[in-house]
């Protein structure tokens, strides 16, 4: 992938609003945002209701994903163009998810919903009707998804990138500050993890920084581009944003998103935890 293959800008979206080969998909945690207003023709995905198993903590399986996309009128040949709130966190998460299940043509709208709104572009509350399609997913590609045991093994050998805010990394906050502070997990980070907040990869309007700036950002933080990388955050959506940067924009080969992230790692018994602003020793 590359920037031109993975990203489109709002002008491109406006030029393709009536393109039958393109399906716009809005992904939010707060689905009332879509219900109040969305880009014309966009369908909605709720990252939690639609993409998570309702009982255990895991993704929907291949058959459930096929059913979901079919019911939204998305076929294998469609170019799926994702955007959403929270600076595209959940849209990036969905992008990663579409890649995990092998969708060929998927793109992210640079800046997401925020840039669209700040530029006063048109939104509608009209429901989108799409005829059902027949979608066939691939087996999940676990080369881009990390599980807890490989994260523990990676301490001191692979790049670990903690993309939460500096206060969450240090253990002073347990969740982003737009949420109540939870106390189920210990505060801190995985020892040796570099702190590169996802927000440093984005401009204030939600667009991604240039490739040169991004390359420098991770190099300066101690990320060795010759090694494999695992990114994590609290529940895996901000680290999907960083996975997108490293894997899709900077074209790094072996990058995984650890979607268990801090809510899993910070609750494990017996694993090492580092507290404070320094990465800590293996």
């Amino acid at each position: 992938m590359s920037r031109s293959a993975a990203l489109v800008d709002p002008d491109w979206v406006e030029q393709h609003l009536d393109d039958d080969a393109v399906v716009l998909v809005e992904v939010d945690e707060d689905t009332t945002a879509y219900d109040k207003a969305h880009i014309r023709g966009a369908v909605k995905l709720d990252w939690k209701q639609d993409l998570q198993d309702p009982v255990r903590r895991d993704f929907v399986n291949k058959a459930q994903f096929e059913h979901l996309l079919s019911s939204r009128g998305i076929g294998n040949d469609h170019t799926v163009v994702l955007y959403g709130g929270n600076n595209n966190w959940f849209a990036a998460y969905a992008y990663w998810y579409f890649k995990l299940y092998g969708h060929e043509q998927v793109k992210l709208v640079d800046g997401g919903r925020k840039k669209w709104e700040l530029e006063s572009r048109e939104l509608t509350d009209q429901a989108t009707e799409r005829p059902a399609a027949s979608y066939t997913a691939q087996e999940p590609d676990t080369s881009i998804r990390a599980f807890r045991d490989e994260v523990v093994t990676a301490i001191g050998s692979l790049n670990l990138v903690d993309v939460r805010s500096p206060d969450e990394y240090a253990g002073r906050l347990l969740a982003p500050a737009h949420l109540p502070q939870e106390s189920a997990q210990r505060g801190g980070h995985i020892p040796t993890a570099a702190s590169v907040p996802w927000s440093k990869a984005a401009n204030e309007d939600g667009t991604f920084r240039s490739d040169d700036e991004l390359q420098r950002l991770y190099s300066d933080a101690g990320v060795d581009f010759g090694k494999d990388t695992i990114a994590y955050c609290r529940i895996g959506e901000r680290s999907a944003h960083t996975w997108f940067v490293l894997h899709e924009l900077l074209e790094q080969a072996n990058v995984k998103n650890y979607d268990g992230s801090w809510t899993e790692y910070g609750s494990l018994v017996g694993v090492p935890v580092a507290v404070g602003d320094e990465p800590g020793a293996a």
Binding site: E29, L179, Q181
Partner: protein, 101 residues
Amino acid sequence: MCGATAGGPSLDGVDLKQQAVIQGVVTRAGEPVGGAYVRLLDRTGEFTAEVPTSATGQFRFFAAEGDWTVRALAPQAVPADRVVVARTGGVAEVDLVLDAI
């Protein structure tokens, strides 16, 4: 959950003694601004969180003790910044006034 509800998180069921709340209203020419984006920056200026304002211009964060900056972004407006000090068990009120570009 890790998304931003317009206006910020509800106080329902939250033990405020454990929280360091920062909240306020975004206005322009005396009128509340809904759908603005309010960013919470830490003492080094690094981004920590962001919420869109509610229809009545309100926003809320659950922060930690210390110094913070809140910044409002909206269409056709100059971003507005205010510094605020949060205390656990307290509610720091900070209002942001936007000027047209």
